[in-house]
């Protein structure tokens, strides 16, 4: 446990080694990265094992003094971050392994692995940080790492723009975070988590200040976790290589916001207004992003909106007072979403397109990828006995118990949407007749299959860590941490899981009817079982009804929101950027280089200053 600081340093070592010797190593670079992240993973598992029933551990040294306040740097191990360490290092290791096959033949193979190392280092460092300042430093480095990874295909203008956008959009959130952190410092005299929590416990900070700082910190989380209205960078960031999407958008960077809220939980709990903000933003994001996901044609964009939506779920859980549910979903989501991204990468690798309308009939060709994708899809849809089922149920339960019925309804709608768009994706890609150009579809190589298999397994079993049936291991484990939260069992009404399952099945069924059915050879059915033709007719009829009501409704709804997204949210963001550029342009035009103008401006400025001072100071009164 004393050696936990090695965990982030190993990927950093990989980064440095590959930067120095990558050119010579060429594709052998992958082994360095894989080996070092594997060591990180092993250490993380050891650390987490020590946390079951063990004590939290903290080591730090003086970094600098600010006035009389010492600022330390160090690392801390507690149940929450030990869990995060395992999740992050595991996903990172698997992504490293997967990339070996996926990036094969790329000119800058070693650069890619170097960036992966840097990013993993930053993320693990963030998780280990014992104080907010250190969190902020690594938080920024994570942003930098993501900039490099998203912009990896820099020769594509979209990728370059997306990298810039991701970096700058998340930075807008960071403004809030930074101000929040420093305000907290001046209120409590420390950046340390435990000192801050102590100060909150002793009611040193005024309630207004708590609300203000909590919301400012949440603004940072909104940026990183792609919550409304700072979510637009996340779908664009799909321009990065697919393994990057799996790493950044499943388990690490976007989860950092949720992790931040979770690790600052006592601050949020101390303010009802902050909790409501978190819950409302989360709930609206969940349904908003899910509805946009309904109509996307790019396989990765569907997954991206789905990520935004699932992160909204996590925020909703945290805001509704269920710490465990939020972390639980963070963990299960990390596994099944990484799985989905890697599987999607495998599909793209095989058919060389991301447009799902050009895919189809891959079930028989991708014999490993397809079932694994199905597992991921079932899990995210909340299909019973898969991991997403348990974690999503817990969120719904918590929201209901919390008395936020509107948000609860939104979450249910989002669950239905999720099931629908996931299976729409599934059926369009894997069922139906093969699209013309997919002549030579080959399953991916072994180094890509293994990570998917591991994640597939985890996407099923991770849910059993916290179930109403076998016991709440995760909750017991997390409750040993410094963050105290109520551990009483949430006993929601039984109808909630039932309703959730029904909605999820309804979503799957609708997707099947619309996108799967066509492919299951209707002819074949009617020919073999003529007596069933009426049934088929009825089915068709149902389809029509769906078409007229639900589908049209959801289509309109989805279009509406994507227009809101495109024309209101984006326009506001772009408008601000445009305004800034416009002022810059006018400013430099104004600067015409005439010395007279320099002098005039200076004098006018001075006179104006004196005038304002005279007026406000009361000289004329």
């Amino acid at each position: 446990m004393q050696n936990a600081w090695l965990i982030p340093l190993l990927p950093l070592l990989s980064f440095i080694l590959l930067l120095l010797f990558g050119k010579k190593l060429k594709e052998a670079s992958a082994y360095a990265g894989i080996l070092l992240t594997f060591l990180s993973l092993v250490l993380s598992v050891i650390v987490m094992a020590g946390q079951w029933g063990g004590e939290s551990y903290k080591a730090e040294g003086l970094w600098l003094n600010i006035g009389n306040h010492p600022v330390t740097m160090g690392f801390e191990i507690n149940p929450l971050n030990a869990l995060m360490l395992v999740v992050v290092s595991l996903v990172s290791f698997l992504v490293h392994l997967y990339s070996k096959g996926y990036m094969h033949g790329d000119d800058r193979f070693h650069v890619f692995f170097a960036y992966l190392g840097l990013f993993t280092f930053a993320m693990l460092g963030l998780v280990l940080s014992p104080n907010l300042l250190q969190v902020y430093i690594f938080w920024e480095l994570v942003g930098l790492g993501s900039f490099l990874l998203i912009g990896y295909y820099y020769f594509k203008p979209e990728a370059k723009a997306a990298a810039k956008k991701a970096f700058i959009m998340t930075r807008i959130g960071d403004v809030g975070l930074f101000i929040g952190i420093i305000l907290l410092f001046w209120q409590t005299g420390s950046f340390e988590y435990d000192e801050i929590f102590k100060a909150i416990g002793n009611k040193i900070i005024s309630p207004d200040m708590i609300t203000l700082t909590a919301i400012l910190i949440f603004v940072g989380a909104v940026g990183k976790s792609g919550q409304l209205p700072l979510h637009t960078w996340l779908p664009d960031a799909m321009e990065g290589p697919t393994p990057v999407s799996a790493l950044i958008h499943a388990a690490t960077m976007v989860a950092a916001g949720v992790y931040l809220v979770a690790s600052m939980y006592p601050l949020f709990e101390a303010s009802a207004a902050a909790m409501t903000t978190v819950a409302v933003v989360g709930g609206i994001t969940a349904v908003f992003a899910a509805s946009i996901g309904l109509m996307q044609k790019d396989i990765k964009r569907v997954l991206a909106y789905s990520t935004v939506s699932q992160l909204g779920y996590m925020m909703l859980a945290l805001g509704s007072g269920s710490y465990t549910a939020g972390i639980f979903h963070l963990m299960t989501h990390a596994f099944f979403k990484a799985l989905l991204f890697l599987a999607a990468g495998s599909v793209i690798h095989a058919v060389h397109t991301q447009n799902i309308e050009e895919m189809g009939g891959l079930w028989n060709k991708l014999k490993v990828t397809a079932p694994l994708f199905l597992i991921g899809a079932l899990s995210i849809s909340g299909f019973p006995l898969f991991s997403g089922f348990f974690s999503k149920d817990e969120i719904l339960m918590a929201t209901y118990e919390n008395g936020r019925y509107v948000l609860f309804t939104l979450a249910l709608i989002a669950a239905f949407f999720t099931a629908f768009y996931m299976f729409r994706l599934f059926f369009m890609v894997f069922s139906g007749s093969p699209a013309n150009h997919t002549q030579e579809v080959k399953e991916s190589e072994i180094s890509m299959k293994v990570p998917m298999l591991v994640l597939g397994l985890l996407a099923i079993v991770a849910g059993y860590l916290n179930t109403p049936w076998f016991g709440s291991f995760l909750e017991d484990y997390l409750s040993q941490g410094p963050v105290s939260f109520s551990t009483e069992e949430v006993h929601g009404p039984v109808w909630i899981p039932v309703l959730a399952v029904v909605l999820s099945l309804a979503g799957i069924a609708l997707a099947y009817v619309m996108y799967g059915k066509k492919t299951l050879a209707r002819d074949w059915l009617s020919r073999s079982f003529p007596s069933l033709s009426s049934l088929i007719y009825n089915k068709y009829y149902a389809d029509e009804i769906y078409q007229a009501t639900v589908v049209r409704g959801t289509t309109v709804f989805s279009y509406f929101w994507s227009y809101v997204d495109r024309y209101l949210v984006e326009a506001a963001v772009n408008g601000t950027a445009g305004l800034v550029h416009w002022i810059g342009k006018k400013g430099s035009e104004f600067h015409n280089g005439q010395v007279q103008r320099f002098g005039a401006i200076a004098l006018a400025g001075l006179v104006l200053l004196l005038l304002i001072f005279a007026v406000t100071g009361g000289y004329f009164s």
Partner: protein, 505 residues
């Protein structure tokens, strides 16, 4: 004052200044009598030796008790030592840039370059040590006049001429304004020594002239913003920076600015620390919103205008305006950590900016253009240079693990931790920082993400590489272990002697 008292005085406290002065005089004589065709490079080595010797004297003075000459007219105290350290270090690095700078047709004037750099440095040193309006002004003018000539050193170059001309004219206006403000102060108190003025301003008979005191403050301040290139006297910077020879640009943006900040801190804190404001509040508190407005305007003007620039020197001019706005924040908020924050940021700024200029000099000398497209594909042409430039730019943008982050962090702490929290100013600071990413990252994008236009490897001048390496290392070290510099600061410079008057020793 007879000769005996004159010789009995502790002239030793001016040892660094005398060394610089002596070197400059020696160089000007040598330059005069050296055969015309002979290379002047030897003079550069001599001037470097002078700066090293002056630095040695300064280090020996670290353990020296605080002392003064002429009743606190010229002081050797922690404040002056701390700032002289930055001035000498900065000039030393820039001298290496100047040594490697290609003068082309103006090669014969290379000698002037070196000794003008030294006289400018001398002006800066005087500014850091003086506590009297007269010596302060002499230092200020010595620095300014030397810089005017340096800006126009490439006399056959139109842009350089233009830079020099504009610099002289705006400089003249600013000097007039500064003097105008100082004359109010003198008129109110009849003193020139800053400590005596400070005491005189507490006099109750002066209270009826509250507005005059405040006006004097603003007028002097506006005049002095010329030296640090902040609003309202910032508009000269882009044209002058663009036209000046590159090492001069680096000098103006780092050393000259540092000297300006030293003067501003010393002057305003001593003169106005206990001056009464309107209706009771101390003046230094009362002027804060107005200064905050100027600082905020500087950040906004600098960062927004930088967005449109294609010329790398012009871009750095606007960036340097923006940085001046940031460095003003601790002064605006007058918090307990004012000195160490300003000092640390100036030190960090020295390394990151001179480092960046070293790379710019290397790149533009090769590409023959100052357009930022000259940086295209630098990573493939010279990976280490590109990485070093990335470090400098990340630091200027304030990204963690660089000195610039720690500096900005300190500034931010000042803004929010002062007795009156400057939330709006802090917000502008962070907001404009985000805007600055656009143009800073544009350069990084050029270096890494663009195909190269030019063929061939860069010249890799040894001196430039040395400066780049030193600056890059310092930027990273100060970013990861800021404690080293801050600890040194607290050890060596007990700033308690700042407000203490001293009898002549």
């Amino acid at each position: 004052m007879d000769l005996q008292t004159l010789t009995s005085m502790n002239w030793g406290i001016m040892a660094p200044e005398f060394t610089v002065l002596g070197t400059a005089l020696l160089l000007s004589l040598l330059d005069l009598f050296m055969p015309r065709q002979k290379s002047r490079r030897i003079l550069g080595i001599l001037s470097a030796a002078g700066i090293v010797l002056a630095s040695v004297f300064l280090f020996l003075q670290f353990s020296h008790e605080p002392a003064s000459l002429f009743h606190d007219m010229y002081r050797l105290d922690s404040f002056s030592k701390a700032f002289k350290l930055i001035l000498l270090l900065g000039t030393g690095l820039i001298l290496i840039l100047a040594y490697d700078y290609k003068m082309d047709r103006e090669e014969e004037y290379r000698g002037e370059f070196y000794y003008l750099l030294l006289t400018a440095l001398l002006g800066g040193l005087i500014m850091a040590s003086s506590a009297d309006m007269i010596t302060l002004f002499i230092g200020l003018e010595l620095l300014s006049l030397s810089s005017y000539v340096m800006a126009g050193l490439r006399k056959r170059d139109k842009e350089s001429n233009e830079a020099s001309f504009k610099y002289v004219v705006t400089g003249g206006i600013s000097t007039a304004i500064t003097l105008f403000g100082m004359s109010y102060i003198f008129g109110l108190t009849g003193e020139t020594n800053l400590y005596t003025i400070g005491n005189a301003l507490q006099d109750t008979s002066i209270l009826q002239n509250q507005f005059l005191i405040a006006f004097a403050f603003f007028i002097t301040f506006a005049g002095l913003t010329f030296k640090i290139a902040s609003a309202p006297f910032h508009m000269w910077a882009p044209d002058v920076y663009q036209g000046s020879p590159l090492p001069v640009t680096a000098f103006l943006s780092v050393v000259s600015k540092t000297a300006g900040f030293a003067l501003i801190l010393r002057f305003f804190l001593l003169v106005f620390s206990s001056a009464p404001g309107i209706k009771g509040d101390p003046l230094l508190f009362q002027v804060q919103p107005y200064l905050a407005f100027l600082a905020g305007a500087t950040m906004i003007a600098g960062n927004l205008a930088a967005l449109r620039q294609r010329n790398i020197k012009r871009l750095f001019a606007y960036s340097s305006i923006a940085q001046a706005g940031y460095i003003l924040v601790p002064f605006v908020s007058v918090s307990a950590m004012l000195f160490e924050t300003t000092w640390f940021y100036l030190l960090a700024y020295l390394f990151m900016n001179i480092g960046a200029f070293a790379v710019i000099q290397e790149v533009t000398a090769h590409s023959k253009t100052h357009d930022i497209s000259g940086f295209a594909g630098l990573y493939r042409r010279s990976p280490w240079l590109a990485i070093a430039m990335t470090i400098f730019i990340l630091s200027l943008a304030g990204i963690p693990a660089t000195a610039g982050f720690i500096g900005k962090f300190g500034i931010f702490m000042n803004a929010l931790g002062a007795s009156q929290g400057h939330y709006v100013l802090a917000g502008i600071l962070v907001g404009t920082t985000v805007i600055s990413y656009f143009y800073y990252f544009n350069i990084i994008g050029q270096m890494f993400f663009r195909p190269e236009h030019q063929e061939g490897r860069l010249l890799h001048k040894k001196g430039l590489l040395l400066v780049t390496a030193v600056c890059a290392a310092a930027t990273v070290i100060l970013g990861i272990l800021p404690g080293t510099a801050l600890h040194f600061f607290y050890e060596q410079f007990q700033l308690t002697d700042f407000f203490q008057t001293m009898e002549q020793k």
